[in-house]
Symmetry: C2
């Protein structure tokens, strides 16, 4: 039995579960070195502060299992200490409101990744669901520049095509797609075109591939198929530009799904990532039903023919390299 999973730095660049001790134990069970968690979907500045403070409390209360990550060194320390590093992030720039100064405030509070927008057009840019994507706004360019200055990673996962391409171009530093799949693997608005993936890689960016049913494809169910998505991206981008971003979202009631889809922006039920209108959480594939299943992902990559080094890179080494530069302040 290969020890490649145990020996590797294993990083998941998106999990947004309803956290409790059992969920933190699953991270350890899955051998996760670090996980990017979500502190804002629709929250404004004030509301996001409460989520930050809530994570500080969890980090104190479950310090035997999890540890705060503010730098790549913190990820390596977590590996040595047998804890799972927690990278604090936003899935929306809503906590910045229209105030450029809030980027530095949240950076100082520990936020290291922010997605330009969640499911709608905001001050910064457009989501992949907007009928017209006008690209990165003037404020958006300022936000990207400020994130570049501070060392906060720009995440384009839910962004529309033009906003994504604009951000890749305007960012002075590599950007990330923390959780999506190649569009050619699965047609879905959230997945990324070949053009985006090529330009992302050309600028040093990484795609985190996801088994989340809506973007993985309802017709896909096997670990081998997930490895196909990874292989497609690796062929196009180079294996060093591919990682894992599961978009894990466990332990939530269906009402929470309604909230993250509708927020306060619509009074009519929005489908979000569901293109077929069902309202509940989708059923995860059997090979990935919780973060404890992470070794299955490593095995799927090895079975697909990735070398040990490539597999180790995709499972976390690539993100570690990316974060080592991305979490440092600009020179």
């Amino acid at each position: 039995m290969s020890t490649i999973h145990e020996d590797s730095v294993v990083i998941d660049t998106l999990q947004h579960s309803n956290w409790d001790r059992e969920r933190f134990e699953q991270l350890r069970e899955g051998g996760l070195t670090a996980v990017h968690v979500t502190l804002a979907i629709w929250e404004n500045t004030r509301q996001a502060l409460q989520n930050v403070a809530g994570w500080y409390r969890w980090l104190r209360e479950h310090g035997d299992l999890i540890a705060l990550v503010q730098s790549a060194d913190d990820i390596e320390r977590a590996k040595r200490e047998g804890r799972t590093g927690v990278i604090l992030g936003f899935q929306n720039c809503s906590p910045f409101e229209d105030d450029l100064a809030m980027v530095e405030i949240f950076h100082r509070l520990g936020i290291r990744i922010a997605q330009v927008t969640y499911n709608i057009q905001n001050h910064v840019g457009s989501s992949c669901y907007e009928p017209v994507d006008s690209g990165l706004s003037r404020f958006g360019r300022n936000v990207v520049a400020e994130m570049n200055r501070l060392g906060m990673v720009v995440d384009l996962s839910h962004a529309g095509e033009r906003t994504t391409l604009d951000s890749i171009e305007h960012s002075a530093r590599p950007v990330a797609v923390t959780h999506a799949n190649p569009l050619a693997f699965q047609q879905h608005p959230r997945n990324k075109s070949d053009e985006v993936l090529r330009k992302l890689a050309a600028r040093g960016g990484i795609l985190g591939c996801s088994p989340y049913p809506h973007v993985f494809g309802e017709g896909h169910s096997s670990a081998a198929e997930w490895a196909d998505a990874v292989a497609y991206a690796a062929d196009l981008m180079g294996p060093e530009h591919v990682g894992v971003g599961t978009d894990s979202s466990f332990n939530w009631p269906d009402e929470y799904l309604t909230w993250i889809r509708n927020g306060t922006w619509t009074f009519t039920a929005d489908g979000g990532a569901s293109l077929t209108g069902e309202t509940g959480w989708p059923t995860w594939p059997e090979f990935y039903s919780s973060p404890a299943d992470f070794p299955n992902l490593t095995q799927a990559l090895l079975d697909r023919g990735f070398s040990d080094a490539e597999t180790s890179g995709i499972m976390g080494g690539n993100w570690l390299r990316f974060f080592r530069e991305g979490f440092e302040p600009a020179q």
Copy 2:
């Protein structure tokens, strides 16, 4: 000519001026090693964040003159580097709103001192102007305990007598009166009774004596009289429990004084610290018309007969010792 001023760590535990480069240059001219500045008078959480971010910007733009202080070591570094350390503080717990978690948020953002209340009764306690002071509230006790845990200094300068005594008693760590005078030296609601000063010192606290006209006394105008106030406190508390807190507030229009007095709590003009009803800023005594005059304070203490060691302690050494313990997290 004595070099005691130049050789000492010089600390002023309150200045709330309308800051600009000229004001920062005056700090250097006065030989100030560190100054406690005010980021909130009436501000709520969201508004206080903007003030924090504004100071981050000033610290970047005027980094040749000022430097952020988060520990006693930072004060000593400022002394070595010939810059003035800036200790970020609140004159009100209003930025915490009624949310205990905000104490940690602002501590992490760099806030190291918070006054329990400004001029009114709030969630935490009562000011010295309230007809009935009910003391430290249940939320107030939680806030004090959280500040104790984190290493944020409790400031009782504007607090009422009962709130002050309650805070001294309930705080597990020494507390401070950053800017006031002995009541016996000058009758004013803001000044502190002998009982308060004795109990403050008995618990390791410090009083910062102020030449601010309203609390210094309109009839007092000389540096020798300011040294009398210090001497009274030193006799009562011991010279190691006395420091300087000027309450400097320069470069503001009169409209700002109206704002800090009235906030949003009254539609009728409130006199604030003025007991005689005048509405403009008071005239500062000739010996202290800006922080550039700080050497006059040192000289006044020497002239009053304080030893070099006592003078150096009162001018800043005492506060440095206090902050070395007070800014550390609880064991």
